[in-house]
Symmetry: C3
Subunit: 326 residues, 3 copies
Amino acid sequence: MNNPFFKNKGPLKFSDIIKILNLDIKKPDRDKEILDIKDLASATDADITFFHSKKYKDAAKKTKASFCLTTDNLKNDLPKSCIALIVKNVLVSTAKITSILYPDSVNDSFDQTVVLINDTNYKEKVDFGTNVLIGDNVSIGSNCKIGHNTILEKNVVIGDNCSIGSNNIIRNTYIKNNVRILDNCVIGKHGFGFFPIKNNNLRYPHIGIVLIEDNCEVGCGATIDRGSMSNTIIGKNTYLDNQIHIAHNVRIGENTIIAGQVGIAGSSIIGNNVKIGGQAGISGHLKIGNNVEIGGGSGVIRDIPDNTKVMGYPAKNIREFLRDNR
Amino acid sequence: MNNPFFKNKGPLKFSDIIKILNLDIKKPDRDKEILDIKDLASATDADITFFHSKKYKDAAKKTKASFCLTTDNLKNDLPKSCIALIVKNVLVSTAKITSILYPDSVNDSFDQTVVLINDTNYKEKVDFGTNVLIGDNVSIGSNCKIGHNTILEKNVVIGDNCSIGSNNIIRNTYIKNNVRILDNCVIGKHGFGFFPIKNNNLRYPHIGIVLIEDNCEVGCGATIDRGSMSNTIIGKNTYLDNQIHIAHNVRIGENTIIAGQVGIAGSSIIGNNVKIGGQAGISGHLKIGNNVEIGGGSGVIRDIPDNTKVMGYPAKNIREFLRDNR
Amino acid sequence: MNNPFFKNKGPLKFSDIIKILNLDIKKPDRDKEILDIKDLASATDADITFFHSKKYKDAAKKTKASFCLTTDNLKNDLPKSCIALIVKNVLVSTAKITSILYPDSVNDSFDQTVVLINDTNYKEKVDFGTNVLIGDNVSIGSNCKIGHNTILEKNVVIGDNCSIGSNNIIRNTYIKNNVRILDNCVIGKHGFGFFPIKNNNLRYPHIGIVLIEDNCEVGCGATIDRGSMSNTIIGKNTYLDNQIHIAHNVRIGENTIIAGQVGIAGSSIIGNNVKIGGQAGISGHLKIGNNVEIGGGSGVIRDIPDNTKVMGYPAKNIREFLRDNR
């Protein structure tokens, strides 16, 4: 799915980039236009890209980008068609350029575009409560309910037969059909991503969305953050209990069941038919397989293969956990 | 206490039941009326009951129900006066019949019966904030305060001298006297109970309520789910800190103190004078005795007898925990 | 910083104190006025103080207070200028007197002083959403945003360039410049502090505030309680992720990063440049040094010195944790 919500405010001129990053470079045409910032593989010659780790050497050699944010150490792996822009911190510079191209993706202040639903076309189409607010670029399917004080901030698509409860705040979120969101949730805000800088951290942009597939249920008090470069995804028929936190870029499979107060840290991938007990926590950047069961209170700090039951902190095979704790 | 809130939409005809469950049965009078669905012991000859496990054999033998949802294996334990209706999954079928008799107990969409408190008789009687909404079948005692944006959805009783804060959503809840609910709570929604079915889980009905006894305090951001067949109960003078999750059917005793971010899973019973430290979790279907102390961060996965101090995950005697972790 | 918010309703007459505490004392002038209640060191001869533990013997000997709540065991350490008032429970009596002098500091019912921001002078100065409410004694700097349904209850100071999201409830809080509060937070309510008394606990007063320094970010669903006698403080450029609970009297340093669902119990002190992983819990009255890293899911029950990495429950040196859990 392409990003339906964040609009590229480009193009930038190369001279803008020089200025933003404080570069001391004179060679290329300062008026050359740059359309977008993309990863090494998907950038075209109209784009700028970034290369911050040897891991991506092979992609770097083949990039079609005209410009690349990188370091002195890495620059020689770039093709001659690509001009290396040497910066101190590649990811910080990438965040800065992305922020200029997608300014709406950095800081999530409240949405000032909203109006009361009573003043929109949805007045006739939707069952709605008191004080429901609707922002720009919101679409709601047929046979939907939206509870009291709920705010659909800008960039929300809701399918058919959805029930959205009260006191929810949703933005940058694509909700498919037959989904139920209970109350007090905040869905689609930026994740907890920034570069720590003394006295004034630098937030990085979040141009991903939250995607909630058919037949899901999201309990009360959930926070589901949108992705930074990729999307946060809740698969079909997955049910979340109350007070759950899903961080940016997390992808959860289908038919998965997650009990109360679970937290899933950024960029972890959860399989299909997974059961996660209450208060369990899953560290970031992990891969949890299909048909996995994670006991309540577990702290998962390693990948878990398919068809495994784990428990404990750190989580281990449940038989081992129970034997060690007789 | 009898269920004051959920109204039985019965009677059903036996022919309705045949249709709902897709049964191939011709014998009994298809026009016979069925008033209610009850457990084996409390059903009368006007009711249907259910029998899904050998554990309940003795009750089955004595049931007065005219019909019983059961399996081929179990049917022979029923008396002759009771017609066995053989189904694939007894609890799923029970949920289906209950859902028909109590349709309001299955899905908790926002309450469309609410009006602004300013348009009710409580306008004179209650100290209330901005945008307070009151649903059908709500009763409020004397000397109560209700904060801004709070929604008392249908089926709420509040006693005397209660202080309800702002941004709360309450339904199907009985609150006695001198109770204080702080802010941002959701109380009385259905619990996290459903039958996992590929692509489309089946929710089961929650016909219980939440009962909060005299002198309790509930902190900010609590979620307290109502019971499925029984009630969720918070005993007298019990205090809950912020961000606590109490699942369906949990019963908590008197004078108990529960610190922040604790979670108690479904159907567990907590005694009197219990102290539970922050972030502790208690698994479902456990019995925690009187005068128990549970250390912060503990994960309780077994019953705890009276007068015991435990800590750890899994929780064990606190002296043992401290000795093992010097 | 002096307490900017709670106004002393004194003076009390000595006869009032006799009555409140049910004392049987006839000696001193019953009309003598008492201005304030202060600790042993800071009380003047116009104040009452309290002395409940041998630990404070040295301060007791030098107190300038005219009256002191204490016990028969301790009274002989007081100077002759100070009249000992013998009570059963010194802290309970202290709470009672403080409650009379600072009645607004005990129970935090919703603020009835609020009006719609549209009816205040901030209408022109602030970017604000729908249904924003402003209480007595609120001050907002330049270039601020305040989201929908947010309630700034009484006693709130907000600096310049702050972004306050939607559905927040804030009171007794001092927010400096460039701070961002996301959505659904409750900040500045009293902490979870009371004397357990059978059938009817006695809340103690909270006359502290919440102080949030420059450049902080507070994620969605946070609860940050104000202090009881001291303040709850979030240091400069400290970032909190979603669903975090900060109890009363906690002090967090600068440039600290706290991930989702972390809980910090009362009166703990966290240093500068600390990183705390998701779902970690920190017990009360601990001291966590500078440059400490606490792994996700950890349960910290002991002080942690500077420059240390810990993980586990109870938290220990991270190398030890990983070695023990290979």
